[in-house]
Symmetry: C2
Subunit: 150 residues, 2 copies
DNA sequence: CTTGACTCTGTAGTCGAGTACGGAGTGTAG
DNA sequence: CTACACTCCGTACTCGACTACAGAGTCAAG
């Protein structure tokens, strides 16, 4: 027997049974043939397709994008450019996200080290860890009349 | 007049009116005093608090985490260590995310360039852009009998 | 005084990617 | 033949962070 039930497929691809049906509804997975009982019968390659989906998700593609990728895959050579373009766009996207995260990390790192310095010569007990204060004033401050107990 | 209506505050902090009420429900924003009519009356500092929230969100904190941060802020000096610890944990988190994204980018970049090479000496028309194929086999392959037109 | 913009409350909808559940039918090992 | 695991379908729920809406009341300008 070289077809799989949905549960066997789920174990093979390490996803949930419900996830497989969900992908089918979303059009990411073709409807497989059925046994007379209605049970889905998958070929082992279905697990590859599921792994493809998982891998693409890990690479930051949304399910919609993955659907497009799978559609392109059907006719590969003529769509090479489009696949390449999609991947390039995704790279740009990823680079933006990396840059954002690096900026965040920089800000937090500065604040943590500033905070540590203060802790060491523990005199300035009157001023808190600068992390919180530093978060507040984003670039150009709007008018501040000083003097206000919230 | 130095109090703001919710709409003025929303414009000042560049968030939606509904968002402000949502933050209030979530406990991120204290309930402000009201006019007899029930209208909320905000001090200008409320805009700082909203900017704090926005900034922290940009830094990757969830609203729950921001709530904790704001709670810690109330008693700053005694909580310095905890604030610092929270920020450090967030840095670790950010670094993990950066590493993941860099890996994704690496994979995609390799695939795109491999694809470009093929396009140049455009002989291998039989094999598609390797992006799609390369996505599939995740590390150790499970049995593949070759030969299958899906 | 009227008009129109604003605000109030409470509830419901959105998006993405699933996950859970109920009730019925099926496959199979012992 | 009887358990019991598995599968079917459809619907509803989850999470996070909002966003929209209905219907009523309020404020300020002209």
């Amino acid at each position: 027997m070289d077809t799989l039930t949905i549960g066997q497929l789920a174990r093979a691809a390490d996803v949930g049974v419900e996830t497989i049906r969900f992908y089918e509804r979303r059009g990411l997975l073709a409807e497989p043939p059925r046994r007379p009982s209605g049970y889905r019968q998958y070929e082992p390659e279905a697990a590859d397709r599921l792994r493809f989906i998982r891998r693409a998700k890990e690479l930051g593609f949304t399910l919609d994008e993955i659907g497009e990728l799978l559609a392109l895959r059907a006719r590969p050579t003529e769509n090479r450019d489009r696949v390449r373009a999609a991947a390039s766009a995704k790279i740009d996207d990823i680079e933006r996200r990396i840059a954002d995260l690096e900026q965040m990390r920089g800000v937090l790192a500065r604040l943590v080290s500033a905070c540590e310095e203060r802790s060491e010569h523990a005199d300035a007990a009157m001023s808190g860890c600068p992390i919180l204060e530093a978060l507040e004033p984003r670039a150009d401050r709007t008018s501040r009349t000083a003097e206000d107990a919230q």
